[in-house]
């Protein structure tokens, strides 16, 4: 018997059984577990349990007899396996379909999720004027799914993390939230060994993610998105206000894109715009990205940092 057939038999039997089945019962009764010895059976069963879990099938392990010292039982509870009735309205399904279509790449999970939700609904062509667009949310990040499952189940995670300095360290984290910002995914959580809340870029997680059974609480009102913004933009203790001057040709850009920032008129038709920065390097890099037309007015240390940053290019004239 092929493995996929054995897995279907296992799911069917564990869904239908009225009481948890022990490993020994599974070996004796479920079609496909005809391994020649106990060790071979145990290996096959371990792999199958892992396959079920990785597919999101809620396999439960419960003691079959509270007084026995072994013999765990296995069962799949229907209430946890079956898709609950969501009562999605037709317009809600259409909207989810748009969401699924919008993903560039990595649409497989969204597609199968949508098929499950639409099990009782017709799938016809979308009506109304359409236009082509898509969003690259980098949702194919391999650890994203497992990490999210861990967050939902409130399980701890551990992984090897490559820091900005290039060295790999082993991290144990209690996940508080996952944030997508500017095309990147971040995990925010409590680093157990460092005893503080940190953010981790998912693309720097090397290899697999392991989940561990721990109990933890997410602090009331904790906002992971806020934490990521703070971690990315502020490195110093206190953030400072910088003033950047956009010349007459470039002032339209802040006028259009930073309209809520305080600004004042400057000589020659230029516009001085205030912005909150904490990381001088990030400010310098951002200003240089425009090429000409921008000038840092304050703070003075940012002006110095810009000159220092460019010195190798200027000196080698």
């Amino acid at each position: 018997m092929r493995r996929i057939e054995r897995l279907i038999n296992l799911i069917a039997a564990l869904l239908e059984t009225l009481r948890p089945m022990t490993a020994e019962e599974i070996r004796e009764r479920i079609g496909g577990y005809d391994q020649p010895n106990h060790e071979a059976f145990r290996r096959a069963f371990e792999r199958d349990k892992e396959a079920l879990r990785s597919m999101g099938i809620p396999l439960e392990v419960v003691p079959t007899d509270p007084y026995a010292d072994q013999a765990d039982g296995y069962i799949i509870t229907k209430a946890r396996y079956y898709l609950p009735q969501l009562d999605l309205e037709p317009d809600e399904l259409t909207a989810l379909r748009l969401a699924s279509d919008a993903l560039l790449g990595s649409g497989e999970d969204a597609g199968s999720g949508l098929l499950k939700l639409s099990i009782d609904a017709p799938i016809g062509p979308l009506s109304g004027p359409r236009f082509t667009w898509g969003a690259d949310l980098a949702a194919e990040e391999p650890v994203l799914g497992p990490l999210y499952s861990a967050l939902v189940d409130r399980r701890g995670v551990q992984f090897s993390y490559e820091s900005g300095g290039g060295q790999k360290t082993f991290r144990r984290v209690e996940p508080f939230g996952i944030v997508h910002r500017r095309g990147r995914w971040y995990l925010v959580g409590r680093d157990v060994d460092r005893e503080s809340i940190r953010s981790f870029r998912l693309s720097r997680i090397a290899g697999d993610l392991e989940t561990v059974n721990v109990t933890y609480e997410i602090p009331e009102g904790f906002d992971a998105a806020e934490h990521v913004s703070a971690a990315l933009e502020i490195q110093t203790e206190a953030s400072t206000t910088a003033v950047v001057r956009f010349d007459a040709r470039m002032r339209w850009w802040p006028e259009q894109n930073m309209a809520s920032n305080p600004s004042t008129e400057a000589p020659g038709g230029a516009l001085d715009v205030e912005m909150i920065v904490g990381n001088v390097e990030a400010l310098v890099s951002w200003v240089l990205g425009f090429g000409e037309g921008l000038q840092i007015v304050s703070p003075p240390e940012a002006r110095t940092a810009l000159v220092e940053h460019l010195r190798p290019l200027v000196q080698s004239r």
Binding site: L96, L115, Y148, G291
Partner: protein
């Protein structure tokens, strides 16, 4: 078992667990309909059904096995009531729908935004998250909104298939210019919105970053839109091209750690001293020079010469302005 074999097995099992409930709920559904709905070739579909037919409950006698019959292309599945509902939505599936939904909501004035919010809320309940969109114990997708007015006009032009006139700040030229373009699609990537289309001034395909559009106007002329436009080609905010200028330089170990995440490299080679020689497709001399400026002392051996010259000129101007 290799990872890919494991992956194939998972994909097939997932498909079967999705197919069965539909076939059980819809007795007599045709092979064609199943094939369309689940995006599976007919041959594979029949293979799946033949496989299910030997599975069932312990005992595995005639009364225990799943009963599958195919008559005149119609499918009947019985004796498998335990598979009559699909597997609950997995966190990964909910997450994908959620992030796609967040992007839909980010577009201004999407008619579906309200329905989508309701749907995501129900979805959140189903997988045990009260507020999926908040940063508290959930997923937060932060999207830079971009100038709503330009996005609105771009959407209108795309829906009505009309040409646009843009006053655009080109990062490569470092100046504003006016051009007419045929809009093909909108892509959100790396936190920005891009309007993709055919630039009639440059006579080439271009990605316009929406926040760098100063003025936008929808013209009366119809736009030419290729039938096979595929927005997924522009992932990573980059126009794929066969031939383009190449810029090469060496970057420090510190820069090497993040650089490849942001710029698609044509080649990359580690040097003896830990620096890395990289080659990338250039967006133009000025574009490459700006990149060199941002790298500052983390870059050396810049080629070709005009890029280095331009970077030095800009560096002098900026240094004078800040000294």
């Amino acid at each position: 078992m290799s990872e890919t074999a494991q992956g194939r097995l998972g994909t097939r099992l997932r498909r079967i667990l999705l197919l069965l409930p539909y076939a059980i709920k819809n007795p007599g559904v045709t092979i064609d309909e199943l094939s369309d709905r689940f995006g599976v070739k007919k041959k594979d579909l029949i293979g799946d059904l033949n496989l299910v037919f030997v599975c069932g409950l312990p005992g595995y006698g005639p009364g225990d096995l799943i009963d599958v019959s195919i008559e005149n292309d119609q499918v009947f599945v019985q004796m498998a009531d335990y598979f009559s509902s699909p597997l609950r939505i997995t966190p990964a599936e909910a997450l994908s729908l959620y992030v796609g939904g967040a992007a839909v909501i980010a577009l201004p004035e999407m008619d579906e935004a309200d329905a989508l919010r309701r749907a995501l809320e129900k979805l959140g309940h189903a997988i045990g998250i009260e507020q999926m969109g908040t940063g508290t114990g959930g997923i937060a997708v932060r999207w830079e909104p971009g100038p709503a007015n330009h996005l609105r006009l771009a959407r209108q032009a795309l829906q009505e298939q009309r040409r646009m006139r843009l006053e655009y700040f080109s990062a490569n030229r470092g100046e504003l210019s006016t051009r007419t373009m045929d809009p093909w699609g909108l892509v959100a990537a790396l936190g920005h919105w891009y309007l993709i289309g055919f630039d009639r001034l440059r006579n080439d395909e271009r990605m316009f970053r929406v926040d760098r559009i100063k003025e936008a106007e929808v013209l009366d002329e119809p736009a030419d839109i290729p039938d096979d436009f595929d927005p997924s080609r522009y992932r990573g905010a980059f126009v794929p091209r066969d031939e383009q200028d190449i810029v090469s330089f060496e970057i420090s170990p510190a820069a090497a750690r993040w650089f490849a995440d942001y710029y698609p490299l044509r080649s990359s080679r580690e040097l003896d001293d830990g620096w890395r020689a990289v080659e990338l497709t250039s967006g133009g001399t000025r574009w490459a020079a700006t990149l060199v400026l941002r790298l500052g002392d983390q870059v050396r051996a810049v080629k070709p010469e005009p890029v280095l010259t331009e970077a030095r000129t800009l560096a002098s101007v900026l240094t004078d302005a800040h000294s």
